[in-house]
């Protein structure tokens, strides 16, 4: 199938979706799809496994929630504030983390995200266990009332598309090619004269910012920012979404996010079984399904 036609169909589907499905559910899916796509930019295209991406997602969710509720900022500014906070954290964490590779990179990011988590447990503006609740959506540009779910959906969709386009552009730019070469063979990229650490850092900051964008949008769409968003389980969830959908594919993380969110929604009554099912999915994916759904489809039917 022609790629342009496929993207056009998907876009059309997303535009009519709120009239067919439940807008809140769709917004959650889009936010997590953006989160997973941002994560995929690191694992799929740079070969860095960050096990702490929840810190960007969750912290940005707190900041945008706080900005909208306490400072009364309009939604676009609240989202911007959240994204900026994630960018700053991303830069600091990135500087530390890119000093190590592979497993160490994963552990360093995990540990630093736990530090952010404990900070959020103690900082007064997060309201600890309660989280920031009933965050107002406000008026877009001070004019358009976002109280309507469909209007909010299109705001979220616009943000998702911007983020997605940015990721797409990054991957297909010369910069993205260098990232891929780092994934494939880091010493070689180094010997060709690329400043590998700087490339990794920039990729990390982009990924962190977009994860923050997703989190900031989520807290406005759902009106809620909680400790769950910064916890390491959330970092694990985004790994699972990406793994299930297909690491290093463009659409995989989006599909994976949709599946996991749907699963959590429909199986919510089963309590801890959701955790067990997610764990089993993880194990099965790692053992026998490492390409993920989209990766497997591309492998079977795609052109070489």
């Amino acid at each position: 199938m022609n790629k342009t036609v496929m993207y056009a169909l998907l876009l059309a589907g997303l535009v009519v979706a709120p009239f067919v499905g439940y807008p809140i559910f769709l917004m959650t899916c889009l936010c997590f799809a953006l989160f997973a796509s941002a994560f995929n930019l690191l694992i799929g295209f740079t070969g860095l496994l960050s096990f702490g991406h929840a810190m960007f997602f969750g912290f940005a969710a707190y900041v945008s929630g706080h900005a909208a509720k306490e400072w009364g900022l309009s939604p676009e500014l609240a989202v911007l504030a959240g994204t900026l906070s994630a960018t700053v954290i991303g830069w600091v964490v990135g500087v530390l983390a890119v000093r190590r590779q592979g497993i160490y990179f994963a552990m360093v990011t995990l540990a630093l995200s736990q530090m952010i988590y404990f900070f959020c447990v103690q900082a007064p503006f997060t309201y600890a266990e309660d989280g920031i609740q009933s965050i107002p959506r406000g008026k877009l540009f001070g004019v358009i009332d976002m109280g309507n779910d469909v209007a909010m959906y299109y705001f979220v969709l616009a943000i998702f598309l911007i983020g997605f386009a940015l990721i797409h552009r990054t991957i297909h730019s010369p910069f993205g090619q260098v990232l891929k070469s780092i994934r494939e063979n880091e010493p070689r990229a180094l010997s060709l004269g690329y400043d590998v650490d700087r490339y990794k850092l920039v990729a990390f900051v982009i990924s962190a910012s977009l994860a923050g964008l997703a989190g900031a949008t989520k807290s406005l769409a759902l009106g809620l920012a909680t400790l769950t968003d910064v916890s390491w389980q959330m970092s694990g969830e985004v790994v699972l979404m990406t793994l299930l959908g297909g690491m290093g594919t463009i659409l995989g993380p989006t599909l994976g996010a949709g599946i996991i969110i749907a699963m959590q929604n429909y199986l919510a009554d089963l309590g801890s079984w959701v955790l067990i099912i997610m764990g089993v999915t993880f194990v099965v994916c790692v053992l026998s399904f490492r390409r993920g759904i989209v990766g497997e489809i591309e492998h079977r039917f795609g052109k070489k």
Partner: protein, 295 residues
């Protein structure tokens, strides 16, 4: 009353003692992680979950079968070790040729499964584990009160860490293990069953976690969440100490506990974050860890 920097010395010593107890658990867990990492090159994310399983085994043995603490101290680690054999033989074995990150992801999935199972059947709140009769009461050391059980935990974990270090660094078995880490194919050529050795190493590493779980059961509540609460701290300990080093992981684990205790006295708000700050500093100054070698 004697004071140091405005803190009563009793309070200081009490927190240091608590820190030493916590440090003993950190040391045993990071020791197990280091042993597994050395041999299999994977970071065992399920380590915390298996520590939790060890504590639950002890609780089940006592409450379902009436088997006391002393037998649990032997049986529970064996049970956890058997789970380890199962995990290694049926799953981890197939990932040897792949990127080591897959091992981390697989064991993360296993940790979710284990935690989910125990949450489903025992809920998230903790279950108390009765302290054996002999450990009730305290030693009066004049300057402070030392609960008997805490003293026992510190002594036992130190002994176990020392034995493990001795076996790995000074015996022939340990030499095989270290050689297998460096060059498995060469060791295989000498007629040593490396796959078996790998399985047993994993089983031993998680068995240590199980043992730590049994020891922790009377101090902390036995809860499905106890594993995930401790594992990330232990990861930070391992990054500070450097992955490959056995002695390094033990020393860092104990030091980490003591520092936690000290921070609780002087600036309680930071006691949960201080380990991560130290980790960040170590990463800036010595990226390979305090005791690690750059590979």
């Amino acid at each position: 009353m004697t004071e140091i920097f405005g803190v009563p010395i009793q309070a200081l010593l009490g927190q240091l003692m608590l820190g030493l107890v916590n440090g003993s658990f950190y040391a045993m867990l990071s020791l197990g992680l280091a042993v597994i990492f050395g041999m299999l090159n994977i970071v065992n994310f399920a380590h915390g979950a298996l520590y939790m399983v060890g504590a639950f085994f002890a609780w089940m043995l006592l409450n379902y079968a009436g088997i006391n603490y002393w037998f649990a101290l032997i049986l529970a680690p064996i049970g956890v070790g058997l789970i380890g054999v199962l995990i290694e033989k049926t799953m981890l074995r197939w990932l040897h040729q792949l990127d080591h990150l897959y091992g981390l992801l697989l064991t993360f999935g296993l940790a979710l499964v284990l935690e989910g199972i125990f949450r489903e059947f025992y809920g998230s709140s903790g279950l108390p584990y009765e302290l054996p009769q002999i450990f009730r009461g305290v030693y009066d050391l004049e300057f402070m009160m030392l609960p008997k059980y805490r003293a026992w935990v510190v002594v036992l974990s130190l002994v176990i860490c020392l034995i493990t270090w001795y076996v790995i660094e000074k015996t022939k078995l340990g030499a095989y293990l270290r050689a297998g880490t460096e060059n498995p194919n060469m060791v295989k050529a000498f007629g040593i069953n490396v796959p078996l050795m790998v399985t047993l190493t994993y089983a031993f590493g998680v068995g240590l976690a199980g043992l730590a779980g049994v020891m922790a059961a009377p101090i902390y509540q036995v809860s499905p969440l106890m594993g995930s609460n401790i594992i990330i701290v232990v990861f930070a300990v391992v990054v500070i100490g450097g992955m490959g080093s056995i002695l390094g992981s033990v020393i860092t684990g104990l030091a980490r506990g003591l520092i936690e205790g000290l921070t609780k006295v002087f600036y309680a708000e930071a006691s949960t974050t201080v380990v991560f700050i130290i980790m960040a500093i170590v990463l800036l100054v010595r990226p390979a860890g305090l005791f690690g070698r750059e590979k």
